[in-house]
């Protein structure tokens, strides 16, 4: 360090500013590099051009709008509006390349029936590619990016079980209206042994326990006035898609986690606990008609239908 503090003699070729501080401290006055200087002048010219081209200076209680325009369609007429990001967006959504290309397909989709879309490979290719984005942005948060759902919370859309129906028309209706899952809590209606009995019977419906005398008390509760389960789940236990009541005979469990490797007792206990609790206000599918366009909803219905379980 010490030798850096020594005063170095000024090279005679370099100009100095002429100041001398603390006796001998001098300052070089090197010319700016030429490339830097020209770049700087360039930015000045750019700024002045920008002021004329684009919205820039506040004037009075308004501002200069610039001479650049964006062509937008208003009431069927193409008009030039002063450029800003919002007009540019409108123009891009109306007549941009991507928008026009998509619109050709979107118009086809919106006038076609679901069967026509499903039968047309070109429309299906469009539905798959646009639907993937729509599904990822809007549906995947609950139903998973592949539609696999979350057991106990959000239904699987890729399997064969459909609470509200798996035809494109029903899926479309579900998307537009939203759905509200509900099952009364039976904890206050049935005592613990009755809950166990009815669970035993429900497990037998899908062949997880052997039907026979052991499930007889549960059958009476399910099919009789005490439980009344048959009113929603039907006497056969197949459920009603108009109510969103689950099919209990297909061994697909969307709300109770019943892993195949669990013992029968564990399955029965999980089921009893669930029946005691019911489904109260936390099984909600929002309606999407305010958020997505009719064409988007149709595309999503088709996309969801082709995830694997469509009927």
């Amino acid at each position: 360090m010490s030798d850096q503090n020594k005063v170095k003699p000024t090279a005679p070729a370099v100009q100095t500013t002429g100041h001398a501080w603390d006796g001998d401290l001098q300052e070089y006055n090197n010319p700016l590099p030429r490339w830097w200087l020209w770049s700087f002048y360039g930015t000045v010219v750019f700024a002045v051009l920008y002021w004329f081209m684009f919205p820039a200076w506040p004037v009075g209680d308004g501002w200069t709008r610039g001479v650049t325009t964006a062509s937008v369609i208003e009431q069927g007429q193409t008009v030039d509006r002063p450029w800003n990001t919002r007009y540019q967006l409108i123009a891009e959504m109306q007549t941009g390349d991507a928008a026009l290309r998509q619109r050709a397909y979107a118009e086809q989709i919106s006038s076609a029936s679901f069967q026509e879309i499903l039968d047309n490979p070109e429309m299906m290719a469009f539905a798959r590619s646009v639907g993937r984005g729509l599904f990822g942005d809007n549906c995947a948060a609950c139903h998973g990016s592949g539609g696999q759902g979350v057991v106990g919370l959000f239904p699987n859309l890729a399997d064969d079980a459909w609470l509200w129906g798996g035809t494109p028309e029903r899926i479309h209706e579900t998307l537009i209206q939203g759905r509200n899952g509900y099952m009364p809590a039976f904890g206050g209606v049935l005592n613990p042994s009755q809950l166990t009995d009815v669970s035993e019977y429900v497990l037998s419906l899908s062949g997880l326990t052997q039907p026979g005398e052991a499930v007889e008390p549960g059958r009476e509760i399910f099919q009789g006035p005490i439980g009344g389960c048959y009113t929603c789940h039907t006497p056969e236990g197949t459920g009603l898609q108009s109510l969103g009541s689950a099919n209990l005979t297909d061994a697909i469990w969307t709300l109770v986690d019943l892993p195949a490797e669990a013992s029968t007792e564990a399955k029965r206990d999980a089921l009893s606990a669930f029946i005691a609790k019911g489904v109260q206000g936390n099984r909600v599918m929002p309606g999407w008609s305010d958020r997505l366009s009719p064409t988007d909803l149709k595309l999503l219905a088709v996309y969801t239908h082709q995830l694997g379980g469509g009927q």
């Binding site: 209680d61 990001t85 007009y87 967006l89 959504m93 995947a140 979350v150």
Partner: protein
Amino acid sequence: MRHEQIETNSGLLIALTLVVISIGGLVEIVPLFYIEETIEEVEGVRPYTPLELLGKDIYQREGCYLCHSQMIRPFRDEWLRYGHYSLAAESRYDHPFQWGSKRTGPDLARLGGKYSDAWHVQHLTAPRSVVPESIMPNYPWLLENDLDYSDVADRMRALRKVGVPYSATDEGYRANVERHGPELADQLDIAQAEDSLLAQAKSANFDGLAGRITEMEALVAYLQVLGTMVDFSQYDEGYFAEFR
């Protein structure tokens, strides 16, 4: 004035430096005080209800803004993903605004109504249980902590000082009735703050827990109102462009 005079007189140097750097600031800031037209005139934007307000404070406390923006820009890709671009008017009662500057997670400006309350509760408690690829931290304490709403009226009073029209007088109340209807005016009345907070929590039950009001309740109430106040179907798209 000679260079040397300025450089050897630090008081003068400071004064002149301030003059020079304030020019840039003045040119940018001053017009904002008198150009009224950049804030869109739209129906529906209102201050947060007491419950939503506490939710916003929790949002800030947990630093949600560090990873989530609330600012949809007027680009086609953002429009397609998130919905209508954000308006200046929509954050006029946010102090501080939550525009954010970084999207580690998605933008939240139009999150309201997109997912169910139950999803929010599950997702905030354990994000990966619903979105396996998520890197968001768990916030389990939101469901454990009871909401402290004892100071909600003070918080509203503080915001009133900076121009948020919570009502503290009959006159202010009547103005809110006129603007938002009697039901909302009650919720925006500082004297009724605790009552309306309790009423909203009871009727909507955002956290899904009967008999308890948790921090989750407030946060979900806030998340569910984000971006829902303006009914965009009422407006012609060109209307908003006039403000830029």
